[in-house]
């Protein structure tokens, strides 16, 4: 009996999307423009649904690399004026400008984007670390100033995100004109919320950025835990707790990256029992101390930081993650094909095990 393709695969009825992630780093510090990452995330367009996309980029502001680069999003010009009063009273701004954008037919009603390259006057810092100072200001703006959100606040890095297909967002922000050594991208939309410009991935805090495929079902516990350390969640979706969690563990509590991974995707108790006595002790302590930052539910993260990124999937590997490398370039993605689009001849490609972190460091930043 003759049959057609549509008989078997009814297109237009099934939503086959599921977040798409891709990130890569040139460990030798070689820089490239955003064309490749845009191409790769576009290649996984079936994974996105046009309601969110974003990029975290490291090493793109070399001439202002000691300044905190505040990427701001404003709903309207009034919000900008209000916020600028606050920013100018908190920082010494060496450059402020509109983030250059390119009109894109498919990007509708974008808010205003500005960036400020700031330093902190020393007199403001008598009893505080500069990073803590910035963190406080970022959380203040997100929580208390209407219509203003901080997209990113790190040094020599920036986040670009919004509502639309990820590659259109990349085109809108003219990412093809930037050069950087680390590019991380995400498509689809914030979990459990309507897509809105601040809610797209990546979520950032200082130099840390997180893109996430999945859903954090322990959000309530994580959020309450982080609130006790002064992190107020205001993005209306789950992934921001990861960014704050990294900031807490890594910057404030100075945990090594492997320990951070062991907290986020901590081993099951039955697996901890199988370890050697020293390791058992370590993992028991980590789980007991930081139980509030154990992330439950399906996830695949790429966590970017100054000098590299960490990729990790949840303990049941409920979300896909593929890693490959070619020479000094390391690639992480949801689908192998997206990696092979950028780099067809990989030295090695493999699927990391559940809860097993994969690190890629710039040379000189190894841990």
């Amino acid at each position: 009996m003759p049959y057609t393709y549509e008989d078997v695969i009814p297109y237009g009825e099934k939503d086959t999307s599921g977040c798409g992630l891709i990130g890569f780093i040139h460990r030798d510090g070689r820089k490239e423009d955003g064309n490749n990452i845009i191409k790769a995330i576009e290649h996984m367009r079936e994974r996105g649904n046009g309601l969110g996309g974003g990029f975290a980029v490291y090493g793109l502001y070399e001439s202002y690399k000691d300044h905190y680069a505040l990427h701001m999003m404003y709903d309207n010009d009034d919000a900008r004026k209000n916020t600028e009063v606050f920013i100018k009273s908190s920082f010494a701004i060496d450059l402020e400008e509109q983030i250059p954008t390119r009109p894109n037919k498919l990007i509708k009603n974008p808010p205003l984007f500005y960036r400020y390259f700031c330093k902190i006057p020393e007199t403001y810092l008598q009893f505080q670390e500069p990073d803590d100072y910035v963190r406080e200001k970022v959380i203040f703006i997100n929580k208390h100033i209407d219509g203003a959100f901080v997209l990113s606040s790190g040094k020599n890095m920036g986040a670009f995100k919004g509502v639309g297909e990820a590659h259109d967002i990349g085109d809108f922000f003219r990412l093809d004109e930037y050069k950087a050594h680390t590019w991380i991208a995400h498509s689809r939309f914030p979990t459990n919320t309507p897509g809105w410009w601040g809610g797209a991935h990546p979520f950032t805090m200082l130099n840390y950025s997180v893109v996430h495929n999945g859903e954090i079902s322990s959000y309530g516990i994580n959020r309450r835990y982080l609130e006790s350390f002064g992190y107020e969640c205001s993005m209306r979706t789950d992934t921001e707790v990861v960014a704050y969690g990294v900031d807490l563990l890594r910057r404030r509590h100075k945990l090594p990256w492997k320990a951070v991974a062991a907290v986020f995707a901590s081993r099951f108790w039955k697996d901890i029992d199988k370890l050697s006595p020293e390791e058992r002790d370590l993992h028991t302590r980590l789980r007991a101390s930081y139980g509030g930052l154990l992330f439950n539910g399906p996830f695949a993260f790429i966590i970017g930081f100054e000098g590299g990124f960490m990729a990790i999937a949840d303990r049941g590997k409920l979300r896909p993650m593929v890693v490959g490398y070619k020479g000094d370039s390391v690639y992480v993605s949801s689908e192998e094909s997206a990696i092979r689009l950028i780099e067809p001849s990989l030295d090695r490609v493999w699927h990391p095990r559940a809860g097993e972190p994969v690190f890629a460091f710039l040379k000189g930043y190894e841990e």
């Binding site: 695969i9 290649h43 094909s337 092979r340 490609v349 699927h351």
Partner: protein, 276 residues
């Protein structure tokens, strides 16, 4: 033979080309430069059709496939052979997660490693027995809730001392058989299946499959048969049958509510609960 260059083709365009070629009577199709195109071979019929794929096919390769033979020269992604009915797949490389989900028939041969949740809920009915041979190692949940079919794991890529399969191996298994070339750490094994040694019947069952595997991927069957295999088969029927009936555990005289012919299977009906 028809050659389709898949460079920059969307999966829908490419798959329609494949379908139209098969409708036109083409028996041998080569797909070149495949890069992440999804749904290749989905729902295809025709036992004498051969599709050769060069590159990296996308997710859900050969889902619901009903007859053709697919050869992949490269790695495959997630969801290969999802609910497949009949046909053969050879993958000259690794494959991702959730392979052969609910597979109902046909054969799959994979040279390299596979990811997590491989062979979940494979099933069989009379002559329809799905079979899969994996040359490398597998992740967690291998053969979880398996209800039928044959899974063979060879672990040829394993380093010494490395376990061939991950945790929760065969959890909830209630049908079919898993053959693993090596020993199993009992702590990774689910409660519902137990390891056994192979008998004559088993050898008769797996030998033709291993021969196919060796022929395609250039291995020596004697080398592969030399190492001892372990067989996993379920030791209970319907282990979760009673979990899905509301109020079942609170009933006092369960036996009376179950028709005697159903007793062994543990099939209480909703009606009998209401009657109480």
């Amino acid at each position: 033979m028809k050659v389709i260059d898949a460079t920059n083709l969307h999966y829908k365009q490419m798959n329609v080309m494949v379908y139209e070629a098969i409708q036109a009577g083409e028996k041998h199709i080569q797909l070149k430069n495949v890069l992440g195109q999804r749904f290749i071979g989905d729902g295809l019929r025709g036992e004498d059709v051969l599709i050769e794929i060069f590159g990296t096919p996308g997710n859900d390769l050969a889902a619901f496939m009903n007859g053709p033979q697919i050869k992949v020269y490269g790695n495959a992604q997630d969801g290969v052979g999802n609910t497949m009915n009949a046909g053969k797949i050879f993958i000259h490389g690794d494959a991702g997660d959730v392979l052969f989900y609910g597979m109902r028939g046909g054969e799959v041969y994979i040279k390299g490693d596979v990811g997590y949740r491989v062979g979940i809920h494979m099933k069989e009915y009379m002559d329809f027995i799905p079979k899969a041979v994996i040359g490398g190692c597998a992740g967690d949940f291998f053969g979880e809730y398996m209800a039928g079919g044959i899974l063979i794991l060879l672990g040829l890529t394993a380093e010494k001392g490395q376990p061939l399969a991950g945790d929760y191996l065969s959890t909830g298994m209630h049908g079919g058989r898993i053959y693993i070339r090596g020993k199993i750490d009992p702590s990774t094994l689910g409660k519902e299946a137990k390891p056994f040694e192979l008998d004559e019947e088993d050898i008769k069952l797996i030998k033709p499959l291993l021969e196919n595997f060796c022929k395609e991927f250039q291995y020596d069957i004697h080398d592969i048969m030399k190492a001892p295999f372990t067989k996993l088969i379920p030791v209970s029927k319907r282990p979760y049958g009673k979990h899905y009936v509301p109020g079942w555990h609170t009933l006092t005289n369960r036996k009376q509510l179950v028709p005697s012919s159903y007793e062994d299977n543990g099939y209480p009906t909703i009606r009998s609960v209401r009657d109480r």
